[in-house]
Amino acid sequence: MSLASYTARRAALGLVQVLAVVTLVFFLVEALPGDAAVALAGDNPDPARIAQIRAAMGLDRPTFERFAQWLVGLPQLDFGVSLVSGRPVADFLFSGIGPTVALAALTLVLLVPISVLVGVLAALREGSLLDRALTSITVALHSIPEFALAVVLIAVFGVQLAWLPPTAVGADLFAQPAVLVLPLVVLLARPICSISRLVRAGMVDALASDYVRHARRLGIGETRVRFAHALPNALAPAVQQVARTTDWLLGGVIVVEAVFVIPGLGTVLVDSVAARDLPVVQGLAVVFAVTTVAVNLLADLVAFRLAPRAEVVA
């Protein structure tokens, strides 16, 4: 199968997956107790008032009718308007995507070189003191949850030493990049560990493989053997993990956004689910589903290029 037809088939499958996700999300949110009117009325749940809010939001129409109407707008990229604020859903998505993508991009830019470097170093000195030290550090770091690391970093560097801003509250992320330092460290900590371990394992396997031995017998220089022959094969498994990490980052890492006050997609999701603001939740489901499908497709294609023997059947 050619790469092009494989891509086309995967894209079509992806479309079906996206539709399935948004349908599922719609009915799951519908199944949550309470609707947007109940959530908005809050601790003033006068039934007459809830009925009025419901009518004003159009929630008194049948579920399927509302879902169908939403689906009809989707091909024109019309995500509808927020039930609660009346503002277009697209506004929420755009305002949340900026911080989330910026953070994800910066994380990846740092993550990939650092973790490959760490993995390769450990593999080339397999069993050495350096390898054991790196292994100990990465395993230890990997076992610390994001929020715990965030709390410690904020307390030490943000509040006690006051070297870095403890939160991004009210800040323009691009005008004040200092606010991104602590969140980036937190986001990098675990992925660096997992990916560098995969690179190390892949590299160790590759260096011990028949084809590397053969390349050495042919008299190819050690540097070339390591980086042109062994490394690409060693990276293939890591690419899948980078894809999962990318997907995780693009979903808006809720804990990190909450602790550092970054108004990204995760924050929008938490707010809209609590408000039962279905159109906004739906818009987010589309964004998350599309990124998941796209990122995984891209990862498979990259892995295929790096190690053409690898299995890429969907």
Partner: protein
Amino acid sequence: MSLNRRGFLGLTSGLAVVTLAGCGSGATSASSTPRTGGRLRAAFAGGGAKEVLDPHLANLFVEAARSKAMFDKLADLGNDVSPQPRLAEKWEPDADLTRWRISLRQATFHDGRPVRAQDVLASYARILDPNRAFRAKSSLALIDLANSRAVDDRTVEFALKRPFGEFPNALAAFGAYIVPEGADDFTKPVGSGAFSFVSFEPGRSVLLKRNPDYWEGAPLLDELEFVIANEESARTNALLGGQVEYAHDLTPTTARSNASGDRMTIHRSPNSAVQAFAMKVDRAPFDNRDLREAMFLLADRPQLVESVLAGSGQVGNDLFGKDYQHYAGDLPQRQRDLDKAKFLIRKAGAEGLTVKLDTSTAAAGMVEAATVFADQAKGSGLTIEVVQGNKDSYWADTLKNGSLSSFRSGAMPIETHVAQRLLSGSGTNVTKWARPEFDALYEKAVSTSDPAARTEAYREMQRVLHAEGGYLMWGFADWIVGAKPNVGGISTAPANTLDWARFDKVWLG
């Protein structure tokens, strides 16, 4: 740090937007003498999608504070939660309390237009629009708009559908702001308040600037910025890290651990939020008066205040609105009496009974209070089983279902509390208290122009509720905000009153 504790205070999540309570001295902070200038950044919890600048849609605390900065009501609540004139200079009812003449103060909107009687009528007409669901609607519903009129540019005459002596409470209702006639788009709001609009990024920040022509005198600050931080820990860290000068709604634990530091000053507003359990009196088992009294006697209130509120509060006496106008402070304080409670439980035939106590994280401390109370009931013969429900629909769920639930409310006039929750026709009557003779007492209180008769009617209502009502009101929580030590002029009036979260009297030292 966990997300399910994020506190949106909105109606939405039920966290007490409604109100907080109060007495409070209206007094203020340590920072020396008032100075002008500077930008104050204030961190509040927000609601993302829900945030709006339309003052009539205000729901969250941050929206209430922003509305207050940019707009005025005709009246607002003073430190004892009684109505005080604001845009209204004075109000005069006719003899039978059905027509009220309101004289407006000389004030201007930010665009230079004067505030006129027509703006008042248009604002109330917008709130009362039958096709919309603004929060202040139920409070203003007794106005007969068709028969109300603008006498001249600065005099409004309201016709009411029934005699109502507490009409100024309605003028002070949550969200009853005066907007310019015809205003419906609030992307660039124009009000008559102490600060005027500069910019808005939903879910992130709102920037306002000083209105030099404010009728009550220009604010001391040049600029006021509201920023959003949903997590209480983030608001605290932002304050400690110097990113904001004011952090709204902190926990008693934060207050305790930062009380002695030099980076943060803690400001407490006493009597801001009543903490209670609601028993439904129309169904078993709490249709039995003896069992209700047994519950009152089971509660160890000082222990609840100490453990649940970390000491940041006062014990309650099963009555709403401690120290507010009309509060019956002379009724004896109820104490725990386990022996009498056991006796009453046996008398009610409830020995061995297990009662479900519905609670949720919709408001801070409710689950903890339920757990502590269930523990206090051990050994009484009655078993209380704590059941945790969904926080987003909690208030609507417990209005209809169950027989015992956690309850919390912010400040509002005692009259409003009774009207919304304790009359046969009340929309949020969670205790299902419906008694014609009690309704008649309320009617008497609000329709008499004799102050002594009114006071007596309020006292009688509270006596009955104290003896056999459905609310076990065990405590009143302080409302806690943190500020940089150089911030002066922060009031400790109860949350939801005029001086709470009010920034035109605040300065940066």
